[in-house]
């Protein structure tokens, strides 16, 4: 029962981020859809260069929380703070202007376009650079750059020019991840980024994630159902259940069982174990 496949991922430095100031804070986030309370007052703190794992059963509210942070949904109540300042993020564009990028569970890809276009859409390289909508596309520069990025993630694509709609689930996901990693400047949010990935691609994505804080000065929120992945790359695991945060822990093989209990509800919200904070 031991997964050995991803054993050789470099174990990340586990202690950074703890002393750093918070980059992103969510306070008392409430979001209701009709009769369903998807978020019932969530608090979350992400420190600089920290990798936080967000865990929880299906329907716990994880995707809703990150959609609220990235401006896809508006919160009914609550506040979002960046570097300690309250901000209002009402659209994905505003989130991007704040340096927040996300890979959503339902990918935002464009099946009629190629890999390069998908990677750069909304961030096109143009000549001259300052014209945005009416700038001349610098295809060569984009393609050169795209090739590098995908090589780094060791993604196999059938042909660099073929439409992304014709690629396999994993190939598509890899492009989405490459895109988000490329453009995040402050916070990167990944909603089950390895769900469709093979062993090799998973390893590369986890590898990339664990290098991001150091190399790009990024903070990361990772949603995953895979405990091993959380243990490998996260500095902290936050568990949600039924729209609330029910506890957090430093993920390690030792605390794994505790975390699982929190997820499935074996330990109530009140009995959150003090996890070495």
């Amino acid at each position: 029962m031991t997964e050995t496949a991803a054993n050789d991922v470099t174990t990340p430095a586990r202690d950074h981020g703890r002393q750093e100031p918070p980059v992103l804070e969510v306070r008392g986030a409430v979001k209701r859809f009709g009769a369903v309370t998807a978020l019932g007052g969530v608090d979350l703190t992400l420190r600089r260069r920290q990798v936080v794992g967000l865990l929880g059963d299906n329907g716990a509210g994880k995707s809703t929380l990150i959609k609220a942070i990235t401006g896809v949904h508006a919160l009914d109540e609550g506040q979002i703070l960046l570097d300690g300042e309250p901000v209002s993020i009402r659209t994905p564009t505003e989130a991007r202007q704040h340096g927040i990028e996300a890979v959503y569970q339902d990918l935002a890809l464009f099946d009629n376009l190629g890999i390069v276009s998908n990677l750069y859409l909304g961030n096109e390289l143009t000549k001259p650079r300052r014209f945005r909508a009416l700038g001349w596309l610098d295809r060569k520069a984009m393609e050169r750059d795209a090739r590098e990025r995908l090589e780094k993630l060791q993604v196999n694509v059938p042909s660099f020019n073929s439409q992304i709609g014709l690629m396999s689930g994993g190939q598509r996901q890899a492009v989405a991840v490459a895109r988000a990693v490329a453009f995040a400047s402050r916070v990167l949010i990944l909603d089950e980024p390895t769900a469709a990935l093979g062993v090799r691609e998973t390893r590369n994505v986890l590898d990339t994630i664990s290098r991001l804080p150091e190399e790009h000065d990024l903070s990361v929120i990772l949603i995953s159902h895979n405990m091993d992945h959380v243990v490998q790359v996260c500095d902290e695991a936050v568990v949600m259940r039924q729209g609330r945060v029910v506890g957090s822990a430093t993920p390690s093989p030792d605390t794994l069982q505790d975390i699982v209990s929190m997820i499935v509800g074996a330990t109530g919200p009140g009995s959150t174990p003090p996890t070495g904070k």
Binding site: T70, Y104, A108, F110, N112, L113, L121, N123, L134, S162
Partner: protein
């Protein structure tokens, strides 16, 4: 549960290779799709009417296709974003009436000043229906542009009192009626506009965005494309196309009249779709739209030369529309049979 059936045996290499060659030859032909259709039509027309291939008549074809072609260029942009613009025909009437009144009532001598007026009036109307659609959060542009169809026709009737207004300045008459050699000025205008739109679509960020919005509007929003503004810009351009088409129409007739352009948007839409664009958005090229307009123009002209009755013209047009789409379908099928990656669609 026990139904079984033998698979057909894999064809032997040699026969399959010959088969493939045949397929490939067919495909090479069909691949150019609308272009081949246009070629076939030209051949048919040329063989039944010796007048067809005269320079003068080809000029006529160009002139007759030019109005639909200009509309189609605007409609193409709208259709790439998975939209539709039903108001173009009425906008021809409204913009030309506005232009003519401007000339008559303001005693403007130089026609050049009217040209931007008419184009901008179309753009303004497009901006209104586009804004209604986007900012009014209406799920599909059919209804807002249908509303514009009605309102614009009504306003054209009101402004003109239902009467035609005769007398267009020379500049506009030149656009609509003059030829350089056998080539009508309107055709040159179409060519210039086609190049412009082609460049916008394929070389400029905005063009990419249009294709992206057509494929996945919500996704486009998430990656930070200013979707609303881009969509409105598309309807503005479609309205400006109608204003430009109005220039040609009123130049041809030396007048503005409130029933002009009736239902011409349907021809423009048909041209765009015959040219390989999709109502589901994200697909379509300038070349296709122009070829689609030419196909409609050639048919119309040929049937006129042959003096075919209106009844048969309807039947012939309907049949050709079906043949044109089926050619496109066949192309897709042959391509997948021959396992050739459709690289030409990726230019988007």
């Amino acid at each position: 549960m026990t139904q079984t059936a033998a698979l057909p045996p894999t064809p032997t290499p040699s026969s399959s290779q010959r088969h493939n060659q045949l397929l490939k030859a067919t495909l090479a032909l069909v691949r150019l799709g609308p272009l081949v259709m246009l070629g076939v039509l030209v051949l048919i027309m040329a063989s039944v009417s010796p007048l067809f291939l005269t320079g003068r008549n080809l000029g006529n074809v160009g002139l007759e296709a030019s109005v639909v072609a200009i509309l189609a260029l605007g409609q193409l942009l709208v259709i790439i974003t998975a939209g539709i613009d039903l108001s173009q025909g009425s906008l021809i009437a409204l913009t030309s009436v506005v232009g003519a009144l401007w000339i008559r009532d303001l005693d403007i001598v130089s026609g050049w000043a009217v040209i931007p007026t008419m184009i901008l009036a179309g753009g303004l109307a497009g901006a209104i229906s586009g804004t209604l659609f986007v900012k009014g959060k209406i799920p599909h542009p059919f209804l807002p542009t249908l509303a514009m169809l009605m309102v614009a026709r009504g306003l054209a009737l009101l402004f003109s009192d239902g009467q035609p207004i005769t007398g267009m300045p020379d500049a506009i008459r030149t656009l609509g009626s003059s030829r350089i050699g056998d080539v009508p000025v309107a055709v040159i205008l179409v060519a210039a506009l086609a190049v412009l739109i082609h460049v916008l679509l394929t070389r400029v960020t905005w063009g990419q965005w249009i294709y992206a919005i057509g494929a996945n509007r919500e996704g486009a929003r998430r990656v930070g494309i200013p979707v609303d503004r881009v969509l409105i810009s598309v309807y503005v351009l479609s309205g400006m196309a109608a204003g430009t088409a109005a220039l040609v129409v009123s130049g041809q007739t030396n007048s503005a009249y409130p029933t002009a352009g009736n239902l011409m948007e349907l021809s423009a839409i048909a041209a765009v779709i015959i040219g390989g664009a999709s109502f589901f958005g994200g697909r379509g090229t300038v070349l296709g739209a122009i070829v689609g307009a030419l196909i409609l123009g050639v048919i119309q002209n040929g049937l006129n030369l042959l003096n075919v009755s209106a009844a048969w013209q309807y039947v012939a047009l309907g049949t050709v529309v079906v043949i044109a789409v089926e050619m496109d379908v066949l192309r897709g099928y042959l391509e997948s049979r021959l396992r050739i990656i459709r690289t030409e669609e990726k230019e988007a």
